[in-house]
C-alpha cells in the first residue's frame, strides 16, 4: 500500500495549541510521525534574566495559563529556599489549596477536551460547566479565574475568613456530586470506553526510559507522585491516595485524572477544615544571596522542575524550567504508531499536552 504524508497543524480543529505533525499513513494506519514544536517559544529563560525576582513571579505565572499556580509555587519555593525563609504554615496551606483547586480545574478542562475529541460533546459541556464552580471558588479567593497571582515570594497574598471557608466547602460538596455524576457516565458509557481503550498505549518500560511524569506515567503503573514522595508546601499534613492504573492507554489516563480530581476535592476539604492561624508571608528581601536551588512541584501534568541560580543581585542569573509535557511529547511517535487516523485526536488529548509549557 502506498504511504502518504499528511501535515497536521499548527492550525487544526483537533489541536488546541499550535503544534505541527507530519503523519505518514498507510491506508488508515499511522506508520510514522514527526513533530514540530516551537510555535509558542517566547524565549522565557532569557526574559527571566532581564527581570527582577519579584517581576518574574508575574512572568512565571504566564508560562502556562492552565497550570499557572504550579509554576509560581515552584518558582517562589525556589527563591524562598535561596533566601532561607521560613514560610508561615497558613501561607503554605493556602498555597496548597490553590494547587489542588488548579488540579481539579485542569483535569476537568482536560476531560472536556478529550470528550469533545472523541465526539462526546455532552461531556465537554458538562465538564466545563462543572469547572465553572472551581473557577468561581478561585475567583472568590483570589480575584482571578485563570491567573490568580496568589503566590508572592515569602508566602501568599490572599486570606480567607470563616464565611469564605463555609461557602467554599458548600461549593466543594456541589462539585463532588457533579464529579461523581461524570464518573458514573464515564464508567458506563461504552462508546467512550471503545474509543479510549487500547489506544495510545505506553508500557511502564517506555514511561521509565523516556522519563515521563504525571498522570500519563501513573496510568502506566509508575507509582510516583511528588506530593507524597517529596512533599512540599503543606502536603505533608494531608492524607490522600496516589491513583495509578495498569493499562497505560487513554482510558487508564482518563480514570487516573478523574479519580485524582475526587482526591483533590477531599484534600481541599482537609485544608479548609484545619487552616492554621498566623501571618500570610515572611518578609523577603529583593536581593537574593548567591546560591542555587532545584525546586520541584507536582503540577497537574506531572513533575515541574525549576533550577534557579543567583549571583547576589535582584535579578536571577539563570532560571531553567522543565515542564512535564516535554517528556510526553517525546513519546508521541511511539503512541501514534499503528493508530488509526481517526484516533489521532484521542491520543493527543489523552496525554494532556500543554505546548505553552513545553515551548516556554
Amino acid at each position: 500500500m502506498n504511504r502518504i504524508t499528511i501535515p497536521i497543524g499548527p492550525q487544526h480543529p483537533a489541536l488546541k495549541e499550535p503544534i505541527s505533525f507530519l503523519l505518514t499513513v498507510e491506508g488508515e494506519r499511522i506508520v510514522e510521525s514527526a513533530l514540530r514544536i516551537g510555535y509558542v517559544h517566547r524565549g522565557l529563560e532569557r526574559i527571566f534574566q532581564n527581570r527582577s525576582y519579584v517581576q518574574n513571579v508575574h512572568v512565571v505565572e504566564r508560562i502556562c495559563g492552565i497550570c499557572s499556580h504550579a509554576h509560581t509555587t515552584a518558582y517562589c519555593q525556589g527563591v524562598e529556599a535561596l533566601l532561607g525563609l521560613q514560610i508561615p504554615p497558613r501561607a503554605l496551606c493556602l498555597r496548597t489549596l490553590l494547587c489542588e483547586l488548579e488540579r481539579i480545574h485542569s483535569h476537568l478542562l482536560w476531560l472536556g477536551v478529550l470528550a469533545e475529541h472523541v465526539g462526546f460533546t455532552t461531556i465537554f459541556m458538562y465538564a466545563w460547566r462543572d469547572r465553572e464552580i472551581v473557577l468561581d471558588i478561585m475567583e472568590a479567593l483570589s480575584g482571578g479565574r485563570v491567573a490568580h497571582a496568589v503566590n508572592v515570594i515569602g508566602g501568599v497574598r490572599i486570606d480567607v475568613d470563616q464565611e469564605q471557608v463555609c461557602l467554599t466547602l458548600a461549593r466543594l460538596d456541589e462539585l463532588e456530586r457533579r464529579i461523581e455524576t461524570l464518573l458514573g457516565v464515564i464508567r458506563h458509557e461504552r462508546t467512550l470506553q471503545a474509543r479510549t481503550r487500547a489506544v495510545g498505549h505506553l508500557s511502564i518500560e517506555q514511561v521509565r526510559s523516556h522519563c515521563v511524569v504525571g498522570p500519563v506515567a501513573r496510568a502506566s503503573g509508575m507509582d510516583v507522585d511528588l506530593r507524597r514522595d517529596a512533599p512540599y508546601a503543606a502536603y505533608d499534613r494531608l492524607d490522600f491516595r496516589v491513583i495509578t492504573a495498569e493499562e497505560g492507554d487513554v482510558w487508564a489516563r482518563t480514570m487516573v485524572r478523574v479519580l485524582e480530581t475526587v482526591e483533590s476535592v477531599g484534600m481541599c476539604r482537609q485544608l479548609l477544615a484545619e487552616l492554621p492561624d498566623g501571618p500570610l508571608a515572611a518578609p523577603a528581601s529583593r536581593r537574593v544571596p548567591p546560591g542555587q536551588v532545584v525546586s520541584r512541584c507536582e503540577a497537574p501534568r506531572g513533575e515541574l522542575v525549576y533550577y534557579i541560580r543567583s549571583d547576589g543581585g535582584d535579578r536571577p542569573a539563570r532560571v531553567k524550567v522543565r515542564t512535564p509535557t516535554l517528556m510526553t511529547l517525546a513519546t508521541l511517535s511511539d503512541q501514534l504508531r499503528g493508530v488509526n487516523t481517526a484516533d489521532v485526536p484521542t491520543v493527543l488529548s489523552g496525554v494532556d499536552l500543554c505546548i505553552a509549557c513545553a515551548d516556554r
Binding site: K16, R42, G65, W128, V146, A147
Partner: protein, 147 residues
C-alpha cells in the same frame, strides 16, 4: 428593478453576517489563558452560540479570526497564511494583552509583538487573561462595526 433586488439582497447578506459570525481561533504564541477563556465562551455559562457564533475548523469557513498570544517568529507566516485563506469580508480580533501588544513577552528574542505586527486588527480586547465577558463584549463591538 435590478437595483432594488441588489439592495434587498445586500441587506439580507449584511443581516446574515451580523447574526452568524463564524469564528476561527488561533493561538500564535500565547500561554493558553485567553484560549481557555475563549473556549469557555462556548460552554453553557456564557454560550456565545446564542449570538450566532460558531467555532469553525477551517479558515475557509470563518468570518472572524480570534487571535491569542504574541506573534512568535515561527507562527508569523502561518498566521498570515490563515488570514489569507479566510474569504472576504473577514475581521481580526486580538484577544488578550499579548496579542494586543506582546504583553509580558514583548522583549523576548522570538517574539515579534502583538498581532497587529502581522495582520490588520479590527478589535483589541485587553486582559491577562481576558474574561469571557470581555471577549463577548469585543465580539459584540465587532458586530456593531459590521453594520
Amino acid at each position: 428593478m435590478l437595483r432594488i433586488i441588489h439592495c434587498i439582497t445586500s441587506r439580507i447578506v449584511r443581516w446574515a453576517r451580523r447574526k452568524s459570525p463564524w469564528v476561527l481561533h488561533f493561538n500564535s504564541g500565547g500561554c493558553n489563558g485567553c484560549d481557555i477563556e475563549i473556549v469557555d465562551t462556548l460552554t453553557p455559562r456564557y454560550d456565545v452560540e446564542r449570538l450566532g457564533i460558531l467555532k469553525e475548523a477551517s479558515p475557509r469557513h470563518a468570518d472572524v479570526l480570534l487571535c491569542t498570544g504574541p506573534v512568535t517568529r515561527q507562527s508569523r507566516d502561518r498566521l498570515r497564511r490563515i488570514y489569507e485563506q479566510m474569504p472576504a469580508p473577514r475581521w481580526v480580533v486580538a484577544i488578550g494583552s499579548c496579542s494586543c501588544s506582546g504583553g509580558v513577552f514583548r522583549d523576548g528574542y522570538n517574539v515579534l509583538g502583538g498581532i497587529d505586527q502581522v495582520l490588520p486588527v479590527d478589535v483589541y480586547v485587553p486582559g491577562c487573561p481576558c474574561r469571557p465577558e470581555a471577549i463577548i463584549e469585543g465580539l459584540v463591538l465587532l458586530l456593531e462595526m459590521v453594520e
